[in-house]
């Protein structure tokens, strides 16, 4: 009598898990760099900052990590090994695929801008955390969480260049920023699809920053914290 019972339980578990597996899908997150709502074009296009600095951008890279989707019922999907280097010059980095996400209504998306302190002290890593992508500091170990470079006539530095390299992983200079974007206030109620767009507005970086005063940030510290606070507001979500 014991064995059939076991088989039955096994079958139930099997079907349940099969049913569960069938109700999963992949979600593509598209990261779209913009400036004041306009699509960001590197090198050629000129933009004007809130402090009236006219500028061109040459490089934009940042890490997005620890993606979580919070469902309407309170359950949470967490992406495993969730570290993504976004590079405005590399189109294929602008799409993040979240695999095997359960179906259901998603109320919000959570992620970090930057690399957490645990990974920052874990030695030589691979994948997007490979230290060869110009996003790792050699003399003061740790990742550059976000990087923005360009030129502006307002900038008194060499070749009118400004460079923002924002990093630092330890208290009180931890520039990792947590982001949570509400997806429930949309007209359809919740996000249930498989394509989510995140626009990243670079204008936010320059909140309260005039390039005539600040030509860049290259080390962890107060200025880096300010810029990180600024860009923690750069994301907006949209979906159909």
């Amino acid at each position: 009598m014991k064995t059939p019972k076991k088989i039955l339980t096994g079958l139930v578990v099997l079907f349940a898990s099969l049913g569960f597996a069938q109700s999963k899908r992949d979600i593509a997150i598209h990261v779209n760099p913009v400036f004041n709502g306009e699509k960001l074009v590197l090198e050629t296009k000129k933009y004007v900052s809130p402090a009236n600095d006219t500028m061109q951008f040459e490089r934009l890279r940042f890490y997005l990590s620890s993606f979580e989707l919070v469902f309407n019922d309170g359950t949470i999907y967490k992406e495993k090994n969730s570290y993504h280097l976004i590079d405005a010059e590399e189109i294929n980095t602008l799409k993040i695929n979240l695999k095997d996400v359960p179906t259901g209504k998603i109320a919000s998306v959570k992620f970090n801008i930057g690399v957490d302190s645990i990974k920052s002290v874990s030695g030589a890593l691979d994948g997007d955390l490979d230290p060869r992508y110009g996003m790792y500091w050699a003399w003061n170990s740790g990742y550059i969480n976000a990087k923005l470079e360009g030129r502006s006539k307002s900038c008194k530095a060499h070749q009118n260049r400004f460079e923002f390299h924002i990093g630092g992983y330890s208290f009180p200079e931890n520039s990792l920023r947590k982001v949570e974007i509400d997806l429930s206030k949309n007209k359809t109620g919740f996000f249930e699809g498989n394509q989510l767009s995140l626009s990243a507005d670079i204008q936010t970086w320059f909140n309260g920053i005039a390039l005539s005063n600040v030509t860049g940030v290259m080390i962890p510290g107060k200025q880096a914290m300010t810029v990180a606070d600024n860009y923690s507001n750069m994301f907006k979500a949209s979906f159909q």
Binding site: G123, A124, D126
Partner: protein
Amino acid sequence: MKIKSNFIAVSCILVTCTMLLSFSSRKDEALLAAPPNDTLKLVVPKGWPKPVYDFTKNPITREGFELGRKLFYDPVLSQDSTISCSSCHLQYTNFTHVDHALSHGIKGLKGTRNTLSIINAAWTKNFMWDGGINNIEVQPLAPIQSPVEMNSSLNIILPRLNKQEYYKKKFKLAFGKDAEINSQNFLKALAQYMLSLQSFNSKYDQVMRKEAGVAFTEPEKRGLKLFRKKCASCHAEPLFTNNEYENNGLAVDTMLKDGGRAKITHLVKDSLKFRVPSLRNVELSYQYMHDGRYRNLQMVLFHYNHSISNTINLSPKLKEPMNFSEQDKNDVIAFLKTLTDEEFLHNPKYFYQKD
């Protein structure tokens, strides 16, 4: 269960065969590389703390160690292929740069700090005079990228290594048949070599282990006593460093203007503090101090006895004068010389090997 045990048996046979094969084909190489009884596994000597390095993610293997050694001695790492790690880290002088206050990189460019030793790295939490590096695996990136050292980068080095059949083979031997020449494997191999640089067989160690026929002389005994009283609060046994940062009273070099640890932490309380270096093999690690200003141990002892500068954050331990007599100073130096580990300094397994 049966399938499982069969699988284990087959795997064991396979592994044994592979080991036998690799050993027989590389017998000469192995003999050249290490003395017969030598082991590559890190030894934790009795009375030492637990190593801070996590070996589970990068266990030292013969192949990884040998690859790391090859890379350590290969000038291809520098931009113009003129200098290697070993240019400034010489084994006979405790992996430091003998006679150089400040070392020079490519094109004779000079740095701003004295070369630190890399021995007993498995017990070192943060590296460099300012402790800016948080893991031995990422330590090589600093000299590689420094414009006055190698002025190079992973993006320069990895394609160069990838062009060499020799390295393609060695990376696979070290990290598996599908292993690539990538940043992670490159840095892990270098780490394996550096972590293997263990020194714990000086006369001091032998005396502490109560080995037969080894004893301190009278001056060495007196020196040890003085050392424990006046120096060991920072240069703590058995590593001869407390792995902390201190301002040891050096007058500020107005040209170098080096803030030390504060450069990393941005804290006023860390201004002018530098790493407390280990004193193992100190006899051969000249020159001394973070800027190499002292040429010999007599000058170092003179400094602690007579020329402490009362600058910001001076270590409280140095506020009381040392009051060493001439004989005291000589005794301390006699003791410091017992920290020389000739076996380590001349161990052929760390040498450059031609193959």
